[in-house]
């Protein structure tokens, strides 16, 4: 633990990442899908002589520019701040491995932003052919940002054996391409592209739902129906994407999924299966609702309907991201780094030398409660909060010291048959450190702690 810990009461750090990410993804995927949508719509306009589409498309490109250029960019930086604070060690690993990849992504991002601005401000000012080219430049550059970031995101789920063989040797970057084109790279890219196209359709419906001008109603009807069709790929190909993802994921993850599906009938299915079910159900609902709200009677579509569709898309997106996080447990980088930032190959070292000795930000001498709190902050708080989300107070269920000791021992031993092994990392540290953690947890369990005071006093 080479970094101070960011204490977010209530929701906890991971949800800060989650909330910003969901917001960002809803815009970033629109940036990619909408980037393809706009020049295609414009090309259709020119080829089929649908001049009446022009004012509506201009209106759409304005929303596009504001959303992607302002909110997308700002929330993207927000994710950097949040992951840097909640998972500094994992962020550091990603930077060390993919700094070149990120550099490429930023180049494409800058081209994307510039092209979006040029595209919006040059309607009717430059030749139509050139304007269309700018649109396609935007589409390609924004899609390439997805191509790059997808490699880094899917790496965390399945780094691949080639990279794992060199992990921790200092030569990880030698396996850049193997890590980048990892086993789940292509199915992830496939799924994300489908989602991007769907969001392009939904956002277009938001613009067209707000067109109230009577003279544009016939045009609006055509465009609403055309945009609704952008959800067809997702509706038809979702099972292909999910199946592809399933066969390429790590065997352990596949086992968790299989176990979940086989126990749906008895109601004992796992959290990840419940969340995956949310994704599938909500995606089907989005497609059905688009059919009823937009495709069937396009004239009746309102912005309210379109926003409801966006809300549903947010549920589908967030549940997919949540499922991805849950499948990855107990790792943040599969088979390399646990969700509490401890590398697999550091476990022995921390158990013999001590966890806190290797934590530069903690004072060397501490009272047991303060030491226990430092252990809690270092090893538990990347997933748990004291009394909010995944509350330790609630999960400990008023356990006494003996029960807490047993629980910590089970977490420390990390035996293959441990019930916690599938979703919790091992507890590392010396006996003394674990005892201190038990002292702190007992106080937490019985509601006797003054949160965050003990450690501050020690400082």
């Amino acid at each position: 633990m080479n970094y101070p810990v960011w204490d977010v009461p209530g929701v906890g750090g991971p949800w800060v990442i989650g909330i910003i990410s969901i917001f960002h993804v809803l815009i970033a995927w629109f940036a990619v899908g909408g980037g393809i949508y706009l020049p295609y719509a414009e090309r259709k306009l020119y080829r089929e002589g649908r001049e009446e589409w022009l004012p509506v498309l201009k209106k759409h490109s304005r929303m596009f520019l504001v959303l992607t250029g302002v909110f997308g960019a700002v929330s993207g930086v927000g994710i950097w701040f949040a992951i840097g604070l909640v998972q500094p060690e994992a962020t550091s690993t990603l930077i060390h491995n993919f700094v070149f990849g990120w550099a490429i992504e930023w180049v494409f991002f800058v081209i994307e932003l510039a092209a979006a601005a040029v595209y919006y401000y040059t309607w009717d000012r430059i030749p139509r052919e050139l304007h269309l080219k700018v649109g396609f430049l935007y589409a390609i550059s924004s899609f390439l940002t997805l191509v790059i970031i997808n490699g880094i995101l899917s790496f965390m789920m399945t780094p691949g054996q080639a990279w794992l063989n060199v992990a921790g040797t200092g030569t990880e970057a030698s396996q850049f391409w193997a890590a980048f084109f990892n086993p789940t790279y292509f199915p992830s890219l496939f799924m994300r592209t489908l989602a991007c196209l769907s969001l392009a359709g939904i956002y277009a419906l938001i613009t067209y739902g707000r067109v109230t001008d009577e003279s544009l109603q016939a045009t609006r009807t055509e465009m609403v129906r055309w945009s609704a069709k952008w959800l067809i790929p997702m509706a038809l190909l979702l099972p292909v994407g999910l199946g592809w993802m399933y066969v390429t994921m790590e065997p352990e993850s596949r086992e968790i999924m299989s176990l979940g599906f086989s126990t749906i009938g008895s109601g004992l299915f796992t959290q990840v299966t419940r969340i995956s079910m949310m994704t599938v159900l909500t995606t089907v609902t989005v497609a059905g609702a688009v059919y009823f709200f937009a495709f069937l009677f396009p004239r009746d579509l309102t912005a309210g309907h379109a926003f409801a569709l966006l809300g549903l898309a947010a549920i589908a997106t967030s549940s997919t991201e949540y499922a991805r996080e849950t499948i990855r447990k107990p790792y943040v980088i599969q088979e390399h780094m646990y969700s509490n930032s401890i590398r697999m190959n550091e476990v022995e070292k921390y158990n013999t030398e001590g966890y806190l000795v290797n934590s530069k930000w903690n004072p060397p001498q501490m009272e047991p409660v303060a030491k226990g709190e430092a252990m809690f902050r270092g090893q538990c708080m990347s997933c748990h909060t004291r009394s909010g989300y995944r509350s330790m107070e609630r999960l400990l269920q008023k356990r006494d010291r003996k029960a807490i000791d047993q629980l910590l021992q089970t977490l420390h031993d990390f035996e293959p048959d441990s019930p916690y092994r599938k979703y919790m990392p091992p507890l590392v540290g010396t006996q003394d450190e674990r005892d201190s953690l038990a002292v702190y947890l007992e106080k937490l369990s019985l509601g006797k702690t003054e949160p965050a005071l003990a450690l501050n006093a020690a400082r």
């Binding site: 749906i264 109601g267 159900l281 909500t282 009677f297 309210g304 549920i315």
Partner: protein, 356 residues
């Protein structure tokens, strides 16, 4: 082509022209409050889900002494039993919630005025029957929570002066809640209440079809040429279907993420668990009983609370008698203030019920 022929054949043989003509006559006003028109349909859809899942639950549910064991089997042993039960319970809550939203939106749009009074009266009766559905269904699992919540909940009818105690005894099948109560509640839940509910629902839907959706006063004030409408069939129905799909999705998600659990078996001799209270839709009455009980202790307090509540309900039901005119009169404003007062009281007492 063949489909067209089949359609024409069906229309001819079943005499569907009349139904299509009737459906085509109705239009739905389009304005900024159109969203609230969906809530009646949402209530209906949640009710239909309960009918379907309720029938499936009846396949395995055994009222009487085995009630708890049968629900345990449904929840933990029978394949997908947990899903059917959870969907039934969640849709029940969703149903009552949407009925309340529907009722207050009807009230605020002044849709109870002539000629829609029968729709209002039948709606109130449907709400009361819906609440009784909820109350009778809640006991059926006979776990600790449902047992004690019903026991506490029975204090509400019990507190009605004179007729209350005999009604409570009749419902319970004696002085205490036990397996006889479960059998009575079951009969009430699956036979008596549906028998009363279905014809009333038919009347209510007929009234909606007959008189159409009322536009709010702000729309009524506009020139007829400025008002927008859409055909009920097929346009509004398509939107209804979209909304129903979303509702089904929400209920499925709630059932999957927060499946309804079963507590320990009810033990009548044990002490009631701490903080026991009825379901949220009875919380307002429960809180009033408690609050007034603090000022006027004993039976007199309970009787006062129930009298007050019954009086409020009667006044609420009789709103169309007081505010009949389509114009914005003084009476109309008084009714609006009364309604806002009722909404505030219900919300605040419901909230208080959870904290006191």
């Amino acid at each position: 082509m063949k489909l067209e022929t089949l359609k024409a054949d069906l229309v001819e043989r079943l005499g569907l022209e009349e139904a299509i003509k009737l459906a085509g006559k109705k239009t739905v006003p389009v304005h900024k409050h159109t969203f609230w028109y969906f809530w009646g349909g949402i209530s209906l859809f949640s009710f239909l889900i309960q009918v379907v899942t309720g029938i499936l639950l009846m396949v395995y549910y055994r009222p009487g002494p085995e009630a708890y064991e049968s629900v345990r089997q449904i929840t933990y042993q029978i394949q997908f039993g947990w899903l059917i039960r959870s969907v039934h319970n969640w849709s029940a809550n969703f149903f009552l919630f949407s009925v309340f939203v529907h009722m207050f939106s009807v009230f605020l749009m002044k849709a109870y005025r002539r000629p829609r009074e029968v729709g209002w009266y039948s709606g109130i009766a449907l709400l009361l029957l819906g609440l009784t559905f909820g109350f009778s269904g809640y006991l059926l699992p006979m776990d600790e929570l449902s047992f004690f919540a019903t026991k506490v909940g029975m204090e509400i009818p019990n507190a009605i002066p004179i007729i209350g105690p005999p009604i409570a005894n009749l419902l319970r099948g004696g002085l205490e809640v036990n397996e006889f109560t479960v059998q009575r509640f079951f009969a009430l839940h699956v036979v008596i209440l549906p028998l009363l509910y279905m014809p009333l629902l038919g009347l209510h839907l007929w009234m909606v079809q007959k008189h159409g959706n009322a536009a709010p006063p702000s729309e009524e004030a506009k020139e007829p040429s400025q008002r927008k409408t859409m055909p009920f069939f097929p346009n509004f129905v398509a939107q209804d279907l979209g909304v129903w799909l979303i509702v089904l999705n929400l209920i499925s998600l709630l059932a999957a993420l927060f499946p309804w659990q079963l507590g320990p078996q009810a033990d009548p001799l044990a002490a009631a668990p701490e903080g026991i209270h009825p379901e949220w839709y009875f919380m307002s009455q429960f809180a009033m009983l408690k609050l007034i009980g603090r000022v006027i202790p004993g039976l007199a307090g309970e009787a006062a609370a129930m009298t007050l509540f019954t009086l409020g309900l009667v006044l609420w039901a009789l709103i169309p008698v007081f505010d009949k005119d389509k114009t914005n009169t003084k009476r109309s404003r008084q009714v609006l203030y009364f309604g806002i007062f009722v909404i505030l009281v219900l919300l605040s007492t419901t909230f208080m019920g959870f904290v006191i």
